[in-house]
């Protein structure tokens, strides 16, 4: 393969890895924020259920977010490494939304997320929940800025080409048109739907797995399920499953609705774009195939979500006869990867349809690729893609183990001394963190506190 194709393949594979993590970040974010808020507002013993829900789903959110950032950083540098010509021509139009994304949205998002994790025992509860809402909002702004940049490539608007024919540079003429580009706005809402669907399916799948286990008192019994959850854990999984069914259904509806609304501009943009190019026509076939599979799977998701939505009435999904219940639960577990696969297909369909153009109808990919030889690009492809795929698989394995462990030994929001005791810390280390048996602690004014009872966490 030539350097151009290898560079394109490298970008596509790294973008796919990044995209899968972003889906769950954006899909799970609002759910964690809602649980956090309900924890703050809860007065009775439901507070413990919502606290555990915040900590459990928050921990999955964070472990998923970690790889999302890493993959995003690797992706951001791809433009400079392999497509410097794109920045030469459209650095201004394409780069501007990326500056907004990094400088405004991501900078705030990541700083806020750090405050949420590490200020857990320091900020008032309501402020702490507010910080997570801000993480969610900045995350969505960040995603929209990326959609504006990508929308410009798919359907260039609000710009003009200046300069001599061999060194043309794109300048922004209408920032409003750039932002309200249907390829940014409609496609952005379509992606929001895909994110909520992914978050919802994960929520339902993980909760269903726990409800299907024999370990929970209310579910172990043969015959009909209990009207009320038997304990805090079962309450948590029931609430999570209900939340997941609602957000997942909403997501599928949004994704399908805004999927169709994109046809108007896509047909207009693509009119007469493919036919003149052999490479382009292969890509067109691939793009349409991906789109076909995406639509079939999206309808299957809709057909799966609808009965679950109906089964929420009267909590029927938890009260059906055991064999039927367990069957439904296992189907929900098996459905977890589906929204991710559908989203990848949708993204492939969009990006392949643009080939061989990098900016639809304006600049071709092979005109902007760097002068690196094919071998050099191949080496970096094997190194970077190999590294990111390995890390992604490890991350998913860890996510799976954390999901299985449930509310057992949650680290997020735990007391420092509990975490360190699990690591085998001796009294000399624990004394700093106010562990049992120590007279003093690191916090000022907390000298001579006797800490031999349970940590305040259990008391909450």
């Amino acid at each position: 393969m030539e350097a151009t194709e290898l560079a394109r393949l490298q970008f596509a594979l790294l973008a796919a890895v990044h995209f899968v993590f972003v889906l769950l970040t954006l899909g799970l974010g609002p759910v964690v924020a809602i649980f956090n808020t309900r924890w703050v507002r809860a007065k009775d013993d439901r507070a413990l259920v919502f606290e555990n829900a915040t900590r459990f789903w928050g921990q999955l959110y964070l472990v998923n977010y970690a790889l999302g950032i890493a993959a995003g950083i690797v992706l951001e540098l791809q433009f400079g490494l392999h497509f410097p010509g794109l920045l030469d021509v459209a650095g201004e139009v394409f780069g501007a939304p990326l500056v907004v994304e990094t400088l405004a949205a991501f900078f705030l998002e990541s700083t806020l997320l750090g405050l949420w994790v590490f200020g857990w025992h320091l900020f008032p509860r309501a402020l702490h929940a507010g910080i997570f809402w801000a993480v969610v909002v900045t995350g969505y702004v960040s995603a929209f800025a990326v959609m504006v940049a990508n929308g410009f490539l798919r359907n260039p608007m609000g710009y003009v080409l200046e300069g001599p024919p061999d060194a043309q540079v794109a300048r922004i003429t209408d920032a409003g048109a750039l932002i309200t580009n249907p390829a940014a706005l409609l496609s952005g809402l379509h992606v929001v739907g895909a994110c909520l669907a992914a978050g919802g399916f994960v929520l339902v799948g993980v909760s269903a797995w726990h409800l299907a286990q024999g370990g929970l008192p209310g579910t172990a019994r043969a015959g009909w399920g209990g009207r009320r959850p038997a304990d805090h854990d079962e309450d948590l999984w029931r609430r999570s499953l209900r939340t997941g069914v609602v957000t997942g259904s909403l997501g599928v509806l949004l994704a399908i609705g805004f999927g169709y609304s994109q046809y108007a501009y896509i047909l207009q943009v693509d009119a007469g774009m493919f036919a003149d190019d052999a490479d382009g026509s292969v890509m067109e076939t691939l793009s349409l195939t991906a789109m076909g599979f995406m639509e079939i799977l999206a309808y299957l998701m809709f057909l799966g979500a609808l009965p679950l939505l109906l089964l929420l009435i009267g909590n029927a999904v938890f009260r059906m006869p055991r064999r039927l219940r367990v069957l439904v639960y296992w189907l929900a577990v098996l459905a977890v990867p589906v929204p991710f696969g559908v989203a990848i297909l949708g993204w492939l369909s969009r990006e392949l349809a643009r080939q061989p153009w990098v900016i639809q109808g304006v600049v071709r990919v092979d005109d902007v690729t760097s002068d690196q030889s094919g071998q050099v690009v191949l080496v970096s492809l094997v190194l970077l893609v190999g590294l990111m795929v390995t890390l992604a698989i490890l991350d998913w394995w860890v996510l799976g183990r954390l999901a299985r462990a449930g509310t057992n030994r949650l680290v997020l929001g735990a007391e420092a001394s509990d975490v360190l005791r699990d690591d085998g810390a001796g009294p000399d280390v624990l004394v700093r963190f106010g562990g049992p048996g120590s007279g003093a602690s690191g916090a000022p004014g907390a000298v001579d506190v006797q800490d031999d009872g349970p940590e305040p966490e259990a008391a909450r």
Binding site: I69, L77, S110, I172, A446
Partner: protein
């Protein structure tokens, strides 16, 4: 904002990154070994490593965003400088992003499983990736000088000063020392960045985008930066407290 103002902002963002993330790199590089007061190297116990990661943990998320933001400014305002730098320093840049991803994965994943082997392997990965990250960053600065020798020298300097910096921040959080060593090592890690910015200044400023775009993006920067700085100040406050019972040991 004109090209000079954007170049100053870029330098500030890079200095922010080396000072904040440099502490994480330094602590990562020295995670397994500690030098006793009598000068002997000693292997750190698992709980001690957890304390080191707790000391610099709150710096990771608010720290690495500075480099992401700097890269955003490079792409958006100085696209030619970015393309030139990454073309000339291609292998160094690939090493930088590879070791960055590996370092992040090491910090995030090592404490997520209880197994001893799992953690020991990640700790070694963390040490190697932290050293490679610091070294490749220094070398990339050297590429901006246009000399392989400077790249090698700055790579070695970066590895050494981040170690000192990480050690100083951990000691300060444990209140074994005051804040003065941290201030000294911060200047040490920042000086190669400032020096490179001065050396590369003319080429950087000439390659900026058009005035209208810089002005439009400048409005975004001026609106957002105060908010970013307030939040960063709160994050620094978290780190400036002595490590204790109200800290969260997530990493």
């Amino acid at each position: 904002m004109n090209a000079a103002a954007w170049a100053v902002l870029l330098t500030v963002l890079l200095v922010g990154w080396v000072v904040l993330d440099g502490a994480v790199q330094g602590a990562g590089a020295t995670l397994l070994q500690e030098r006793d007061p009598d000068g002997k190297d000693r292997r750190r116990e698992p709980a001690e490593r957890r304390v080191v990661l707790a000391a610099v943990g709150p710096l990771l998320l608010p720290g690495e965003v500075w480099l992401v933001a700097a890269l955003g400014v490079l792409v958006g305002v100085f696209p030619h400088a970015e393309a030139d730098l990454l073309t000339a320093g291609y292998p160094v840049a690939v090493t930088l992003i590879g070791s960055w991803a590996l370092r992040d994965a090491g910090i995030w994943l090592r404490s997520r499983r209880p197994g001893r082997v799992w953690r020991d392997v990640w700790d070694v990965v963390l040490v190697v990736a932290s050293i490679m990250l610091a070294g490749s960053w220094g070398a990339l600065l050297g590429v901006a000088w246009g000399s392989g020798l400077v790249a090698l020298a700055l790579g070695i300097v970066a590895v050494v000063v981040t170690r000192l910096h990480g050690h100083a921040v951990v000691a300060w959080r444990l209140r074994r020392t005051g804040a003065l060593p941290v201030a000294v090592t911060s200047v040490m890690v920042a000086s190669p960045v400032v020096g490179t910015a001065i050396a590369a200044w003319p080429r950087l400023v000439d390659g900026a985008v058009s005035g209208a775009t810089m002005a439009a993006l400048g409005i975004v920067a001026i609106v957002v930066l105060p908010l970013v700085l307030v939040l960063q100040a709160v994050a620094w406050w978290l780190v400036s407290r002595p490590l204790g019972r109200r800290d969260t040991l997530f990493f």
